[in-house]
Every structure is written in structure tokens, then in C-alpha cells.
Symmetry: C2
Subunit: 322 residues, 2 copies
Amino acid sequence: MVESTDFFMQRLLIGLDVGGTKTAALLADVNGKALAETAVPTYTTTPEALLSTITRAVRAVLAEVRATPRQIECIGMGVPGLVDPATGIVQLAVNLNLQRYPLGPAVSARFKTPTFLENDVRTAAVGAFAYVQQMEPVQSLAYVSIGTGVAAGVILNGRLHRGHNGMAGEIGHMIVEPGGERCNCGQHGCLETIVSGPASVRQLIAAAPEMQTTVRNAGDVYEAAVQGNAAAQAIVQRVGQHLSRAIQWLVMMYDVEKIVIGGGVTRSGDPFMAPIRHELAQLRQHSPLATALLGEEKVHLMPPDYNPGLWGAVRLAVNGNR
Amino acid sequence: MVESTDFFMQRLLIGLDVGGTKTAALLADVNGKALAETAVPTYTTTPEALLSTITRAVRAVLAEVRATPRQIECIGMGVPGLVDPATGIVQLAVNLNLQRYPLGPAVSARFKTPTFLENDVRTAAVGAFAYVQQMEPVQSLAYVSIGTGVAAGVILNGRLHRGHNGMAGEIGHMIVEPGGERCNCGQHGCLETIVSGPASVRQLIAAAPEMQTTVRNAGDVYEAAVQGNAAAQAIVQRVGQHLSRAIQWLVMMYDVEKIVIGGGVTRSGDPFMAPIRHELAQLRQHSPLATALLGEEKVHLMPPDYNPGLWGAVRLAVNGNR
């Protein structure tokens, strides 16, 4: 690989998706072109261990193109928890073992560069927004993340809507089955207790205890459904019904232009989306309102080769705290 | 009544709440002080008849203080339907018998004054926002109107959130009982089919057909519940459960600072609010999340002596289309 001296002067952007298990990094030039991507295991024993994780991820992507930390123009980070983007303080991130920790300033100090952070789902919403805008000039969308947790990031007038307490889009804690399963939040029957990845697994094991050793994640549940397992099919259908309703609610509440769905559970692709599309088609069949607001082009599944969390983090680096 | 010549020079604002049955008008000075209020029956046979209705209402409030149309600085109007505030066009207002009619420009022409119009629930949300701001400096709220229809007007960052199609806040059409009663919108089991005024009446008459002649509106249902009628009590409780959940959803989705409830059905006061407050207290009991986001001070009932629709219309006159 031959590089001109110019390359060593090039300004670079780094997007980080800091997760409880792994931390991914994307290196891009200032025009947003991807140069390198990597992922390292996340260490969460102490804030210092987390900082080392981030440092390792940053050095790894820089090393891929033989760049130096001095070339970094800006860093954007998505963090799973309640964060304050204005100060860079992580108020609470259980999976990162952080509480009231100034992660933004700490990373800034380490690389001597501006750092912007945001909640991970909102960061992914920014990435989803950039993705959709490549196709059409929308101004609003809701990005629904279905994984271990369930939440939405909402873009209105081209900007993130965070809410008064930074809790806007917490659709995983909308109560959908009063008196239902107890949620970590203390409420009963939250959407998350039905449609999250772990919830699908729990439901299948409860219905078919003999599958305890073979079903480890939502992908296994969808796979079992495809293979014809009746219990898995019932769960997949139930999840689809609840998610199509959550989509209907998001649209009636926010009247956003697009709904984009992503997150680990959605990687099953068609088996995941088919029940949702079926329910929405049923709604449209008898309702002019649903036809107008929930058309076929309304809901997009994030393609598996586009990582909205990483691209959103790069956008944070480009836009700063706007 | 002795008036100085100055009075005849005073600039005046008019707020109008144009309803399917009656049209109310509020006259205020430019500082927002109320000077006169009136209501006239609404005629909807033709757009011209509606314009005459509006003219009568305006003349009536002006006459009360012996002012002339030339003193009108600006008119604000709330209209029950889908409107385009930027152009003043009413896209569809079934109860006013209007479709694609430039009501704003028509009223402007008649009184030779700027006229701003907005959907009636959003207008009331603006009025509710002004009301709450007298007490505390909030920047966001959702105003939930429970009457013949059910909808919310949402204020974010001090401004109305209208949505891409002007349909934001249509919570009456959130599906809460899949396969439930058919709604006017064509969907089944919309919130409106359970908690609206007519829905309460229908449910009580279905449960107690002998009450058909005595129960005419939601007030009668709440009155019957207070008097100990078991069927009415069950309906009141069901409405409270659904509304408390709708409030929980609004808060999880939007993370607004306040929820304000108003509209005809809420005039029963305590019997209306008690089941909602009870449900929310139950939620708080076991959930730190609900305690943080749904505290006792979160939900306000609009006092019966404050008309948010009229005051919101006056605010539209003050602020224009902002």
C-alpha cells in the first residue's frame, strides 16, 4: 500500500458504537467515506477499562490505514444508556458500568479532539436518517431498535427529538398488556417484555421447555418458526402483532414520514418482517386512514450491511451536538 | 358605560372557536386581556353560511364593547378538521361541511385583517400551553381532548408539532383493542371507540338498554356512576384504564413535561379524573420509571372556567403562524 504524504495530513472522523459486549469503530474521511472498520471486546470493570477499550478500538481503525491520532478531527459515540449530549456525561449506562461519568470529556482529553456522544438508539436513528436521505429527502422518521432492549429514536424536522428527560422514544416501556409480565422497569406488560430478543427466547422456552438447550437468541426462535415449529410460529406472530401496533402508534402519535426498523432481532429478515407487513396490510384493507398513513413504503427494514449505529456516530462527529 | 376616544383607537384581537354546533368568540386587547366573549349557533349549509356565522360572532363581541371591525389587529381561529395553517385552507372539516376551502383568506378578506387558523385541538393545546406557562415555565406538553372525538395537540420546544401530514397527536385512532368496535376511520378498536363521549353513552346503553331515554351524553354516564349504577361504574373504570394508558404512552413516546386533559367529557371533573389518577398511582407504586416520568404533578385537568380553544385562538392571533 503506497500512500502519499498528503494522506498523513488528511483529517479523519471516528464513529464509535460502544456496546456492553463489543465496541465497534468506523473511520471515515471528512466527506463521510468509510476508510476502515473494526470491533474489539468491551471491558467494563472500571471507567478506565472502558476508556482503554475505546482507545484500542480507535487505534485499531487508525492502524488499518496507518493514520495517527493527531489526524482525528472529531469523534462521535453512541452509548447504551441515559446520556447528556450537551456535557458528554453518561448519567447511567448499566451495561457499561457507568454512572454520572464524563465519558465525552475523558475521550476528548485522551485524543485531544472534540467528542460528541448520544444514546445508542438515537445515534442509530441519526444513521438511519442519513441512510433514508440517500434515497429520498425526508425530514422525519422513527428508528425502532429491537434487540435486548426495545426503543425508538425520533427525528423531527431533521433533528433528534430527545424529550424533557432524554426519554423520548422509550416505546419498549409502553404498557401493552396490563398485568402482564414484570419488566425490569418495575411496570408490568411493557412492550419490551413481549418483543425483545430475550422475551422471544423466554416465551419459546416456556412453551417448549425441551428447547432450552437449543434456543439461545431471537434468531433461533425465527429459525424454529421457519422450520415449522408451532410454538415458535405463535410467538413470531404475537411479536409481529405487537410490533405492527407499535408502528401504528408511532405514526398516529408523531406522524413521521418513515419508520425504520433495526437491531439484532431484525437480522432474521423476512421471517421477522413478514408478520408485521401482513398486519399492516390487514389494517390498510378496511381503513382509509391506515391507507393514507401506513402505506407500503412507510416501513423500512434496515439492511444488514448498513450499521446505523456506526454511521450515526460518524454523523455526530460531523454535526457535533446539533 | 363611558369610554374615552382612545378606546375607539385601541387595537383588538379576536379568537374564534368554530365548532359544528356553535361558534364562540373571545375579544382581547393586544396584551391578551379579555374584553368580551360570546357564542352563536353555527350554520354549515354552505361555506357562505359559515362565513356569516363567523361574521355574526365577531360583530357580537365587538358590539359588547362598542368597537368596530377596523380595530381588529388579527384573528385566530380553531377549526375541527384537517387544516393547512400556512395557507389558511381547510382541507377537510366534516362537521363544518367544508372541503378544500380557503377559510383563512375568506375571513381575512371580510374583515381586512390577517387571519390564522389551526386545527381545533391544536389550538386548544396552544391555549393549554399558555395556561400552564402562567404557573411554570414549561417548554413541552400534550393536550388531550376527550369529547365527541379524541385527539392530542403536542407542543415541543414551545411550538406546535403538526407532523408530516398534519396528523400528529391523532391518539384517538391508536388501536388499543385489535378486532374491537369498528371506528369511523375504518380501523377496529381505536381508543376513540372506547373513551369518547358517544362511546361511553353507547357502552352504557348496550349494558343497560332501559337507560336509553335518560342517558344522552358522557356527563349522564358519570352521573349514573356517582349514583351507584354498576354498569356505569364499570364503563367509567374502563375509560379510566384506557386513558391512563394513553397518558403513559404519550409520556413514553414524547417525554413531554405535562399532560393536560380537557374537552367536553372531562367536565364531570372528579368522577372523570379519579379512575385515571388511581391507575397512575398504581403504576408509580412498583416502578421507578413511572415514578420518575408520571409523578402526581404530571397530569393537569383543564379547569372548567378556562376555555383553551378560545385562548389558544387568541394566541394564534398574537403569534401568527409560528
